[in-house]
Each structure stands twice: as C-alpha cells, then as structure tokens.
Symmetry: C2
Subunit: 283 residues, 2 copies
C-alpha cells in the first residue's frame, strides 16, 4: 500500500510529494505545524490542535491555507487514503512561494502539506522502564510558544543526547530552569505527591497532550503545580515523565547520571498513563 | 530568458524547481546557505564563502552535497545559464530527505539547491541618503554564528521594522548590545574616528563582506575596534552603516528617532564604500 500525501490541493504518492525551492518554509523556516494522534482512526484532540495552529498563524500574520472546515476534511482524507488506524497525522503550513526577501511578501497563498504515519507501537500499556534524559543548554529562540518548523536547535540537542547515550534531552534556560524536552513537555512528581510541570510562557510550547494530562490529573484529584523547576530538583524527584502527541505519558527514569526511584515507572505516572489510555479509548 | 535553478544534480527551469516535502530543510530548517555577489560575471570572495559553508556544515555534522570543486563548477554553470552579470548566486545545503525524526538520520545524501538573481541596482556609487533602522529585541537562537535557514526570527524582525516605517532593524541582545541587522552586520563611526563593529561570537554571523571591509579599512589606515556597542552609543555616532553581500557598505542615517549627522552618508563611510567598489572592480 503506497503512502499518500496532500500537497497544495493534490493527493499525491508520498515519493513524488514536492514543494517549490522558494517555498518560504524551505528558505526561511517560515512555517508552522501540528502533529495529531490518530487512535482507532479518530483524530485525538483535533480542535485544540487546530486552535493552536490558528494561534501560531496569527502570531506570524500568516493566512490559513484553506478554511478550518476544509482542513478537517483534508485531514480525514489523508487518514482514509492511508488506511491509518493508529499513528499520527502531520500537517505543515508555510507562508508560501515568493522571491527571496526577509519581510513577509504580500498577496501570496500559504502552502499546506499533510502526511500520515502508521505507528504500530503507538498503543500500549504504560512503558515500564522509561527513558533517560540528559540536561543540555536550551539553544532555541525567544518564541518557543509558536510551533514553527525552525527546529534545528531541537534536532542538534536531540542528536547530542543520542550521541551521549541518552534517549532525549531536557533543555535548560539561561536562568538554570528546565524548559522542556526536544519535542515534548517535562514533568516531575515530588516526594510530597506534587505534580509539577512548567507554566506556559514564550519559553516553551503549550502542549496539547500536556493540557489533556492536566485535566486527567485534576480528575484524579492530584496536587498540580505549574512552575519552572531545575535539574537539581528533577534529580531529587520521586518520578518524572515526558508528554507529547506520540509518547503520551512516558516515564523518565534517569536524568543525567541519576536514576529515579527504582528505575521503573512510578505509581503516579502509571495512573496518569492509564488515565490517558482511557481517554483515548473514549475519544 | 527563463531562470534556471540547480536542484540535486539537475539544471531545471526555476518554476519547476522542487524538493521533497520530507527534505529536512523544509521540516526542520536543517540546512545552511550562502549568498555570493556576482560582479561583472565574477564570483566575489568565493573562497571565504565556501570556507564559511564548510564551517556551517561541520558545526551541524552535515556532509558536503558534492565536492567543493564540483560546487564551484555548478555555481559557474548557474551563473552562465542565467546569463548573470551583476547580482547574487544563492546556494543552500540541507541534510537531505528522511522520514521525520529529530535526531540526524544516518546514510542520507545532503541536498543542494542553487539559484541566481539579477540585480541591476547592485552596482552604483555610494548610497547618499542611507537607510533607517529601528532597534528591536534579538529573538534568535544561541548559534547565530552558523548560517542556517532558520531565519524566521530575522523575518519577523524585518517585517516589524517595515511595519514601523523603517528600512531594517538592528537587533539588541539581552545585555542591551546590538548584535547585527536582520541580514547584515552593523557598524558605527565615532566622533573620534573609530570604526566599530561587533566582535565575532555565537551571537552574530561572521560576515564575508564584514571581513572584506575590515581589510579595506586597514588599508586605509583607519582605527578599527571590534567590540559590542549599544543603541545609545550608536545614536551618538558620527556615522553608521550596514554591510552584506548585496548591500556592500550602505549608510544608516537614522536609528530609531535619531538622525545621524546631517542625514546623509558620512565621509568615512563614503571612503569605505568607494574602497569596496574598487575592490569589486579589481576582483
């Protein structure tokens, strides 16, 4: 079965899906994107993802490539044409094609690309062993609240983590606080049963899965605190995890050279992970 | 006459020049570029541009798409096929096409795109009236020394400058010092005849035109100081200018609401501009 991508009004075989070399996404990273979980064929938290896309576009004074309702149809078409049951749908909007200049060109049409990806490993019970993260400087720009395709700093940091034998990195801002993972939000659970994740600002992305977990945590009666925390604090935590549209609640059992707890998923993380899987089943 | 672009081994009509949607330049801004002045058909300062490309590629652990000698042949072909006399040649190297993941994929071939642009306005005597710049926060990442295609912060800043009625912006770092213009280096001349431009670090690009001007200034016996300066200092300067591969020495005669000197090019800037045009004529 061949993969199908949507590129500017056409559904095309993935291998032939192309954009012009002067698409501003290619020359300037002048574009934004979203990744939406597809679970049993359903688009999970689609509306909040589209709301965030709308915010990203507004911040960049970029037009919607198609109406929101049309985008929803296209997303469903891509899911259907790829026979996607479990996985993610990725969509990227760039400012469009224009002769190279730094200021925003007028009267051009924004580009839309949509792809689908099967992920057999997407649906599983909680990951027992978890991942390791290394703390590294946050090299990114001052507007990490906008979900742009300018992801090179995160790529470099993830690569450095992998080369150091870790699964991912938690990035540290200039004031010594953790911002987030390279493509996920960071969470810790203290020995006092406090669930802590950084409050929203220009320093990090307002994760849709993050928000969903906050709701689940609230329904579980947890003590939630949204504030920045340091690597030192994280290493002393009872539990830690990351969240994203493809990892849900994934335990972090090692930070730098510190193993957390007994090196396995903690009870609160496990309850949240199960809560998230329940949410998926009922979506 | 139709424009011709080079894209991954093929010379193609500009309008049909395309790259795959999973080229990492498009999804991650995982690419670097150079812009080289073409003057009377000659590539100006080509070797330092290729040296800088080599440095950018090394910093990102990215492979040359073709041998350096082959790239030189391709650049000349693009100049020739476009009948380019005066203008710029733009070339972009990205890590290549791979299934989307943050860490660097292994065993993929980097992509190469080369375009040419005619600029009739390129060759002229010194610009007498100069441009205006507004000082705005530097939103960029921590590795501005690498010439990557992750240029959205510069685009946003240039756009904000234009919307405020200015020609460009000078960007201010967190410590209150000017880093550079949105696509050029920033210079001032004090009332004591000192020529000042910021010293090289991760905070700004090591401009090839900047380096050439330093050599010309040296040959003119000027008092050169490479250090950071503030907007306050710049507004009190006798002269100011920007430098880049397409603007050479371009006077700045207004910074925020302050007009410099008599609002026209200063004598030292004019001498450097003429020195640069002499250099071009003799290249």
């Amino acid at each position: 079965m061949s993969r199908i991508a949507y590129v500017n009004k056409a559904y095309v075989p993935h291998g032939q899906a192309a954009v012009h070399i002067e698409d501003r996404g290619y020359q300037f990273a002048d574009g934004v994107y979203e990744v939406v979980t597809v679970f049993k064929g359903a688009l999970i938290d689609e509306e909040p993802h589209l709301d965030r896309l709308d915010r990203s576009l507004n911040e960049l004074e970029m037009a919607w490539p198609v109406a929101r309702s049309a985008l929803k149809v296209i997303l469903r078409q891509v899911v259907r044409q790829n026979h996607l049951i479990n996985g993610v749908v990725y969509f990227q909007v760039t400012r469009g094609v224009a002769s190279r200049q730094f200021e925003y060109p007028k009267d051009i049409k924004s580009s839309l690309v949509v792809t689908a990806k099967h992920m057999r490993e997407l649906v599983h019970g909680p990951d027992k062993n978890g991942i390791s993260v290394v703390t590294l400087p946050d090299l990114r720009w001052q507007r990490c609240d906008i979900k742009t395709t300018g992801l090179l700093a995160s790529c470099m940091t993830k690569q450095r983590a992998k080369e150091s034998g870790f699964n991912d990195a938690w990035m540290i801002d200039r004031d010594g606080f953790i911002t987030e993972g390279t493509s996920n939000n960071a969470w810790i659970v203290t020995h006092d049963d406090e669930l802590i994740t950084r409050d929203i600002s220009n320093a990090l992305l307002n994760g849709i899965t993050r928000r969903r977990i906050l709701k689940i945590a609230e329904s579980q009666g947890l003590n939630i605190i949204e504030r920045a925390f340091t690597p030192q604090e994280a290493k002393k935590a009872r539990e830690a995890f990351i969240s994203s549209a493809s990892s849900f609640v994934k335990p972090v059992t090692k930070i730098d050279d510190c193993v957390l707890g007994n090196g396995q998923i903690g009870s609160l993380s496990e309850a949240l992970s199960n809560g998230f899987l329940d949410f998926l089943e009922n979506s």
